[in-house]
């Protein structure tokens, strides 16, 4: 118990630092190359996205003040990359302030997708960093680590269900992938494949972005589509696509906790642990 407390503190510190600056948690865990890669990826996406969208991301957020003092700038999902988003909000000015319409920026939706992806990725960077710490602790105890929880969660961001597939949970992988992607596809079709648009639905867009890579691709392509007719179930479509993004977060949490569960269940020897894992997956 006395040994567990510093380990928990270290885990908490890793998550906190990762949420502050993506990659910092990896640094703390001794994974410097990974830390630099996470930092560069998240900041490049964030600032590249701001550049392409003429900093109009700021129009979707607002400053949060307490007793007349601005504490931070609320901007979701970019806030996942907290320090980066605060620096961007403090230094950059939306082109709309200068009288320019965002419509004049042809790549603004690519910019929105990039900066939004940066925020979502930063959250998963924290999960990955925490998984790295847990895996290091397990290795130090002489136990095998084939997949750590952070990797499983991160794989879900790549494709819903992928994290479970990597664990050998094929049924759950298929169920998550099938239900989430089908829900997203049906939702998009109800909105004529044009309803993934930050300018039209900024709040729904936050949830839609949680779908991960398939959602980010849709965020780039969808604004190219136009409504050709009145859509009777457009609201249902928005609900479906946003819920699909939220469900993907649930799938990622499940991918994380199943790996942890396997670790707790697994006995000392590697051969025994394999059979315990297989039992759980059956």
């Amino acid at each position: 118990m006395a040994e567990e407390q510093p380990a928990q503190d270290r885990l908490g510190k890793t998550i906190f630092l990762s949420l502050l600056v993506p990659g910092l948690g990896h640094f703390l865990a001794g994974r410097r190359a990974q830390g630099i890669a996470w930092f560069l990826l998240c900041q490049a996406l964030l600032f590249g996205g701001f550049y392409l969208a003429g900093n109009t991301q700021k129009d979707f957020g607002q400053p949060f003040a307490l007793f007349g003092t601005t504490i931070c700038y609320l901007l979701a999902p970019e806030m996942g990359n907290f320090l980066g988003s605060q620096v961007a909000a403090a230094l950059l000015q939306s082109v709309e302030v200068g009288g320019q319409y965002p419509e004049a920026l042809p790549l603004r939706h690519v910019g929105y997708a990039m900066s939004g992806a940066s925020g979502v990725l930063a959250f998963f960077a924290a999960a990955h960093a925490a998984g790295t710490v847990l895996a290091a602790r397990r290795r130090a105890a002489g136990q095998p680590v084939s997949l750590h929880p952070g990797c499983a969660a991160l794989a879900t961001l790549l494709l819903p269900g992928l994290g479970h597939r990597l664990q050998g949970r094929h049924f759950k992988a298929g169920l998550y992938a099938g239900s989430i992607l089908l829900l997203f596809l049906v939702g998009m079709s109800l909105g004529d494949f044009a309803d993934f648009n930050r300018q039209r639905h900024p709040y729904y867009w936050i949830g839609q972005m949680c779908l991960g890579v398939p959602g980010w691709i849709a965020a780039v392509l969808s604004p190219l589509a136009r409504f050709e007719r009145v859509m009777p179930y457009q609201d249902a479509g928005l609900l479906f696509t946003t819920a699909a993004g939220m469900f993907n977060v649930i799938a990622a949490l499940d991918a994380w906790q199943r790996v942890e569960g396997d670790w707790e269940r697994k006995p000392e020897s590697a051969s025994e642990s394999e059979s315990a894992g297989a039992e759980a997956r059956a």
Binding site: K172, V186, A243, F247, I250, A251, D254, G261
Partner: protein
């Protein structure tokens, strides 16, 4: 215009997806997930239809009885 039949289909589809994700999160066994999906989707759809029916009755019988 929207049709009640399509709305019912959308409700069942959404309820089933929601239940599948929730059951997969709660359980790790294939049978338990399938059983949970059926039970939860029936519960969800039943609850939504019940609330819809209640709202309809309140609307037609109490709030706007002459409409």
């Amino acid at each position: 215009m929207s049709s009640p039949f399509v709305m019912l289909l959308l409700l069942i589809f959404f309820g089933t997806t929601l239940s599948a994700v929730l059951s997969a999160y709660r359980e790790d066994d294939r049978r338990a997930i399938l059983r949970g999906t059926l039970r939860r989707s029936a519960l969800f759809c039943g609850a939504v239809l019940g609330i819809a029916l209640g709202a309809y009755l309140v609307s037609t019988q109490i709030l706007l009885p002459s409409a």
